[in-house]
Amino acid sequence: MSTTPLTPEIVSHEGNAMVLSMGPQHPSTHGVLQIMLEIEGETVLTAEPEIGYLHTGIEKNMENLFWSHGQTNAERMDYLAPSSNALCYVLAVEKLLGVTDQIPERAVHIRVLNAELSRIASHCVWLGTHGIDLGAISVFFYCFDLRENILDLQEAAGGARMHPNYIRVGGVNGDLPDGYADRLDALIAKFPGRMKELRGLLQANPIFQDRTIDVGVLSAAEAVQWSVTGPALRGSGVAYDVRKAFPYCGYDQYQFDVPTRAEGDAYARFLVRLDEMEQSMRIIRQAREKLRTPGPYAIDDTKIFAPPKETIVLSMEALIHHFKIVSEGFRVPPGDVYQAVEGPRGELAYYLVSNGENRPYRVRTRPPSMYNLQSLKGIAPGNLIADLVVMIGSLDPVFGEVDR
């Protein structure tokens, strides 16, 4: 954070170069990003993003909370796709506990459903704000309408719109409510038409194409060098998707494609994300079919997952287990684990270290946004300031996650 001591390289005024601080309150920086630019005319010579304005020490906080509180904090990092974060953390804890294969099938499908829904919701926010950056206001309303439907579903399942805290260690917090399936079907029916509208607004729009084609070109080799993952990497032609490379949550049973583009520019990343939304909907339709069979929604282990509240008044054991989980959590065997999922922004991972107690010893997040954003240092020089806005938008950083 706080760049006040400018590095000597940045204040060197050679020729007509000048230093410009873009942000941290600039509206097109999608949060609190400051970029120290060295510019000549309107051309960027160097760009040095300065982050940390939103640093809240979430990792340190998580080390001081029970294992079962972790996903609540994880959801606050990438607040546009809370379920993906919670899923990743929960999978990591389950691996340390060694209960991965005891999670009931229905819970796994519900998790997949929620992760994919939050991917679409997150891409909706990205597309809407990306459109606004380029002066296309109306696309924002179409996107937020679609996202609203998804947030309604999140609220129905988890009880909260933004941070549902629905995915828990051992399963999910309660079965899907009555009427959920109908609302999901309505969303599935609405989605193709809405995607057609979104594509119609931007994809063949000559202004949009002028602003994005050949802007912010990231070659495959460069993308790998900068550890760029997710749609940004696939927009550069590398078909790496954690769901295919290291399947989790039974993603290998689902049929879906990994859309890639070879161009590596902002337009390619735009197309990849749009294709990805459609693939996510494909997964959601399959998950919908799998969810027709009822079943348990959480692990049958009351040491990890508290028994249903109704049983507390009927059974002494249930009351004890409930009390134990609420008051001191559960213990996790010592070990370390690296668990990754494909988040909306790329490979989102947790590296957890346990010392056998009821709190994590170390929680390290691999923040995909941070690595993607860092590549701005490589792609910005030589471009116009106006194009910088397109590049930030096309990398889609979320600052809750960059700064943690």
Partner: protein
């Protein structure tokens, strides 16, 4: 209050990689600080083209105190290299490092290590030799201390000096918080009046 957690005992599952049950899909290597740079160079040449992440853990009370963890990914970067590189694979390189020991930078091998090393420097105080721009990244530039160290208080050093309101008290009125005249006596007075009026 500094962390009360004890580090994992040496010899438990996380220690020698040989005895550790395979619970995730990454291979594990343990390397000494002197060899880490050479080993990572070799690995990069072997096809581990992406540095997924670089983080650190503070095992306070153990020697060496810190451990820097490199997560590497081997993957084909084009359709042509699929046969050559094979399926994607992960590798975790763990490098124990004592307090005050600097590690060689890898930011010239993988550009992405730039910010990752700055973050480890900022939050753990582990310096990297040869890093082009080793400044704080998350905390303000004039911050003192390294927050993710285990001996760093959770609420920060400044707030640590003032006593924490005890949770044992029935209400925070007794902890002396309210400056608005809502003392315990005032509250009891208010309750008494309310009772009398009914």
């Amino acid at each position: 209050m500094p962390s009360t957690q004890t580090p994992p005992i040496a010899g438990t599952a996380i220690d020698p990689p040989g005895v550790r049950p395979a619970i995730d899909d990454a291979a594990i290597e343990v390397v000494a600080p002197a060899d880490v740079r050479a080993r990572l160079e070799t690995l990069k040449a072997e096809g581990y083209s992406m540095l997924l992440d670089l983080g650190a853990v503070d095992y306070l009370g153990r020697t060496p105190r810190f451990e820097v963890v490199y997560h590497l990914l081997k993957m084909p970067t084009s359709a042509a290299s699929v046969a050559q590189v094979g399926r994607p694979a992960r590798l975790r390189v763990r490098c124990g490092c004592a307090e005050g020991v600097t590690l060689p930078t890898v930011s010239d091998l993988w550009k992405s290590a730039d910010w990752a090393e700055r973050e480890v420097f900022d939050l753990f105080g582990i310096a990297f030799d040869g890093h082009p721009d080793l400044r704080r990244i998350q905390m303000p530039h004039d911050w003192e201390g390294h927050p993710l160290r285990k001996d760093y208080p959770l609420r920060g050093p400044a707030r640590e000096r003032s006593p924490r309101p005890a949770f044992g008290l029935k209400s925070n009125v007794q902890a002396g918080t309210p400056p608005t005249g809502r003392t315990l006596e005032a509250l009891q007075e208010q309750i008494k009046k309310a009772r009398e009026s009914t």
